[in-house]
């Protein structure tokens, strides 16, 4: 079997992986490898042909492929970064041995002192949310449809219904309309859309596509291809209300019902996982519970802005490189970071602090419910470290709080991030 050795191996060549590889290289890692299962780098960005990417990072709004291209150019221009395309990681071991496979070299073994997990996420399926009915063609996840429409050149239907008003669902509503299909409705089980307001306006309102909040699909009909569906209103517990069922004829149902970090490899090596994010527990260096394994991007927690994904990749790559070069911080003490009242998830879930050089740390969080006029507070051992006011806070828009050295110095116990009551 082919055996190779690198300083840092990055699993996944999407925005998180590309940023991590570049950062690792900048930080002195002599040999970095990116392993990507698709035929080209860029990950999910290649199918996200809409714009809105990079406003924070590049001060301009790029399309997904445009954002990817910038990173791909940088990676290609960096001689210390090798790329394996069309290559799947089939096995990962706690000693950091990576088993990968492609059609050129077959099975190959790669060893290294530091790994960055950047595998992204997958979509929640119909089976997982248990929509009853038949199982005809024409029912697929919005992301799978996006790939077919934007990269392969085929459409999944011409009279489309979308379940889920998260950004993917909204974007596909517009995309299908621009492709000449008729989007009949978007159903959203919650009383509010989880997508960006901008997308609700520019994807639905612009095209007069009705958005039915507090509704869901209760049955799929059609023997060979979908011919229609039954939908109903839901109560405050999100259960269908009997008597509100209506039928809607359609030939395609797109599901945008959630993203799940793709952590099969992480689970294989026994990383501590956060049940709320669906990703591994990480500290502010993006190191997981197993030393030498770092993680960044959607595999840690699902992001809405690729700019933050790149930021995470930067962090993971930097510290992976440090570790690979033997620079570890033994003088650091580790504390937990926990979501408190009103906060659903926080990353990182751990902070390690060296009182001699605390550095800075950014906390990326999501509130549990839409809020107006709140104060988010970060405290430790009963002492408030940071407070910040937000006129608006939504679960669908990740919030970043930055702790500087003077604040981190004051951490004496577990850190809690919560909405001040």
């Amino acid at each position: 079997m082919n055996e190779k050795h690198y300083d840092v191996v990055v699993i996944g060549g999407g925005p998180a992986g590309l940023a991590a590889a570049l950062s690792a290289s900048e930080q002195g890692a002599a040999r970095v490898l990116v392993i990507e299962r698709d035929r080209e780098l860029g990950g999910i960005l290649q199918q996200c042909i809409h714009n809105g990417f990079g406003l924070h990072r590049f001060d301009t709004e790029l399309t997904g492929p445009g954002y990817a291209e910038r990173y791909i150019k940088m990676v290609k221009a960096t001689p210390s970064i090798d790329v394996l395309l069309d290559t799947m990681v089939v096995d990962l071991m706690p000693d950091k041995t990576v088993l990968a496979i492609n059609s050129v070299e077959g099975l190959q073994k790669i060893t290294c002192p530091a790994i960055v997990l950047a595998m992204g996420c997958r979509e929640r399926t119909r089976g997982a949310i248990r929509i009853p009915g038949t199982r005809p063609a024409g029912v697929l996840t919005a992301g799978a449809a996006q790939r077919m429409v934007n990269m392969e050149g085929y459409i999944p239907g011409k009279k489309v219904v979308i379940l889920g008003s998260g950004d993917i669902g909204l974007i596909m509503a517009r995309r299908m309309t621009l492709e000449g299909a008729k989007v009949l409705a978007v159903f959203e089980i919650m009383p509010h859309s989880s997508g960006l307001t901008r997308n609700v306006v520019q994807c639905l309102e612009d095209f007069n596509i009705p958005l039915h909040l507090s509704h869901t699909v209760t049955a799929i009909h059609g023997r060979e291809r979908i011919t229609g569906l039954t939908y109903a209103a839901v109560d405050e517990n999100l259960r269908p209300l009997p008597g509100t069922e209506k039928y809607l004829a359609c030939d395609c149902l797109l599901l945008s019902v959630g993203l799940i970090p793709e952590n099969e490899l992480s689970r294989e090596i026994g990383l501590n996982m956060d049940a709320l994010t669906g990703g591994p527990v990480v500290n502010q260096e993006r190191e997981t519970s197993l030393p030498g394994f770092f993680a960044a991007g959607n595999v840690v927690h699902v992001h809405d802005l690729v700019d933050f994904v790149s930021e995470e990749g930067d962090i993971a790559g930097r510290f992976a490189a440090h570790l690979a070069q033997g620079q570890t911080n033994v003088g650091a003490q580790e504390f937990s970071v926990t979501p408190g009242h009103g906060v659903r998830t926080v990353v990182p879930q751990k902070i390690k602090i060296d009182v001699k050089d605390p550095g800075t740390a950014k906390l990326y969080l999501r509130v549990a419910e839409p809020q107006r006029k709140i104060t988010l507070s970060v405290s430790s051992g009963g002492m408030t470290l940071l407070e910040k006011r937000f006129p608006v806070a939504k679960p669908g828009e990740m919030i970043v709080l930055e702790l500087d050295a003077s604040q981190l110095e004051k951490v004496v116990g577990d850190v809690i991030v919560e909405i001040k009551r």
Partner: protein, 491 residues
């Protein structure tokens, strides 16, 4: 491939029974054609069932079900070796949770003994809970059958079919029988969607449509009453939540809601039982799913239902009288029924084939054994089941084994090509799925679906919009709409 216009025997139905019969008949010097209405085999009841190898204690003594269950179970031992079938003898447990249930266990034990089921034993509460720690604490005891197990119904059906084809049987898909042609009370052939096939002997293994076939030959001696069963499949990560097939004590209508592992290390729960009229109704329902969830929980309270990856429904072909209908037709010579094959149909299939061959012989068909009959199929291991050195060898011979298409189930492009090009190969997305498991994992085809679709398009030399999911009209995608054609509301 030009279609035979004349055969000695036409077998109607490409499920586990039809293909088992084809395999057995292939031993003889006969021209045999199997016709299947759908684009793939095992698309009827064989596609959606509990995949259980039954021990045989459940069927009433003296019925065909009982006799053929036990015989079939036995025959699988030999067939498994020969054909490389995926069968696991993990044992079955019928679990009693009250005093009445315990009495039923004794009845089943006795019935099993009379049916000739080997190794049956009644287990105490402690013994059961030691075997199956996740069972409800209300467990009082269980009947354990070591010859019970699980199988892969698609794999088994395809193995039968491939062996049949290897031995000269012609298998035609998308070939629907419209009418059995009868003359002077004798069968002369079948009118199919691909033309007329002359034949003196016809095997009716048409599943839920067996009574339609029978009626078209003027035999109204039985009717099929479809009974739907819904199932839920749980992700592999749930692991082996249960070790054996777990049955509750049975009711009059069904064996009850089962929880069992699958040969692929998933766990499934189901089925319920609902009599329906529409032979095409394969819908799952909220009520049905709730019922099987409740049933499962009553046996295994901790079953992690949030690990559900898919739900599906199947139709049992129940004949009047509830037993198998395996006999010559009434009033028509040459037509042999192998109908009403509900549970334990999968298990009985080899024995049903054996019985059908006997009936054909007594109905006058000359059966001369082929000297060159090949009982084995060539070993065909999927990439993921190989060891590393074999994997490297496979890739060296065919680099496409190095391209993983389905991440969740580790299926390579080489596997998919094999699934498409071998005898009775896949021609649909679900056909590839059934042969390789691509699309059966936790992402349910989200990642691999578009890729498998492309591969099918390329290999079958058909445009992507011609690729189907499963049935004849289940097209997956459309060409993009031309520039000036916007879809209007009322189109």
């Amino acid at each position: 491939m030009p279609m035979r216009k004349k055969a000695d025997v036409v077998i109607i139905g490409g499920g586990i029974v039809g293909t088992a019969v084809a395999r057995e008949l292939a031993r003889f010097k006969l021209d045999i054609t199997l016709v299947e209405q759908h684009p793939d085999l095992s698309m009827g009841t064989t596609k959606a069932n509990s995949a259980i190898l039954h021990a045989g204690f459940d069927a009433a003594v003296g019925t065909l079900k009982a006799k053929l269950n036990v015989r079939g179970n036995e025959l699988y031992r030999a067939w498994q070796e020969e054909l490389g079938l995926d069968i696991k003898l993990i044992g079955s447990l019928v679990v009693a949770t009250d005093e009445e249930g315990l009495l039923v266990l004794e009845q089943l034990h006795e019935r099993g003994r009379q049916n000739g089921v080997p190794g049956l034993v009644l287990l105490s509460r402690e013994a059961v809970l030691e075997r199956e720690p996740h069972l409800t604490p209300a467990t009082l005891g269980a009947l354990f059958a070591p010859t019970g197990g699980i199988m892969d119904p698609f794999g088994v059906t395809l193995a039968f079919a491939e062996n049949a084809v290897r031995n000269g049987v012609e298998v035609l898909t998308e070939c629907k029988v419209e009418q059995v042609e009868v003359s002077d009370d004798e069968v002369v052939g079948v009118h199919t969607s691909q033309g007329f096939i002359e034949a003196r002997y016809i095997i009716n293994a048409a599943g839920v449509h067996a009574d339609d076939i029978s009626r078209s030959a003027n035999d109204h001696s039985f009717a099929i009453h479809p009974r739907k069963g819904e199932y839920m499949l749980l992700d592999k990560s749930v692991g082996n939540f249960v070790r054996s097939v777990i049955f509750p004590t049975p009711s009059k209508v069904s064996k009850g809601i089962v929880i069992a592992p699958t040969v692929h290390h998933n766990t499934f729960v189901g089925p319920n039982a609902l009599a329906i009229d529409d032979k095409e109704d394969l819908s799952t329902t909220a009520e049905g799913l709730a019922a099987i969830v409740a049933g499962a929980k009553s046996l295994v309270p901790g079953v992690p239902l949030n690990a559900a990856i898919t739900q599906f429904a199947g139709l049992r072909a129940v004949a009047d009288g509830d037993d198998f209908v395996i006999r010559p037709a009434t009033g028509v010579r040459g037509l042999i029924h192998a109908a009403g094959i509900q549970s334990p149909g999968l298990t009985a299939a080899p024995a049903i084939a054996e019985m059908v061959v006997d009936i054909l012989r007594s109905e006058g068909l000359s059966l001369h054994a082929k000297i060159d009959f090949c009982p084995e199929n060539p070993a065909r291991a999927l990439f993921r089941d190989q060891e590393a050195p074999e994997k490297q060898k496979l890739i060296a011979e065919n680099p496409l084994y190095g391209r993983v298409i389905c991440r969740c189930e580790m299926v390579t492009e080489g596997d998919i090509l094999d699934a498409i090009h071998r005898p009775c190969g896949a021609r649909t997305l679900d056909g590839v799925k059934r042969r390789t498991r691509a699309g059966m994992g936790r992402c349910q085809g989200g990642f691999c679906g578009p890729r498998v679709t492309s591969i099918l398009s390329r290999e079958l030399k058909i445009p992507i919009p011609a690729v189907r999911k499963d049935t004849a009209g289940s097209f997956l995608f459309f060409d993009k709409i031309r520039g000036t054609h916007e879809v209007k509301d009322h189109e």
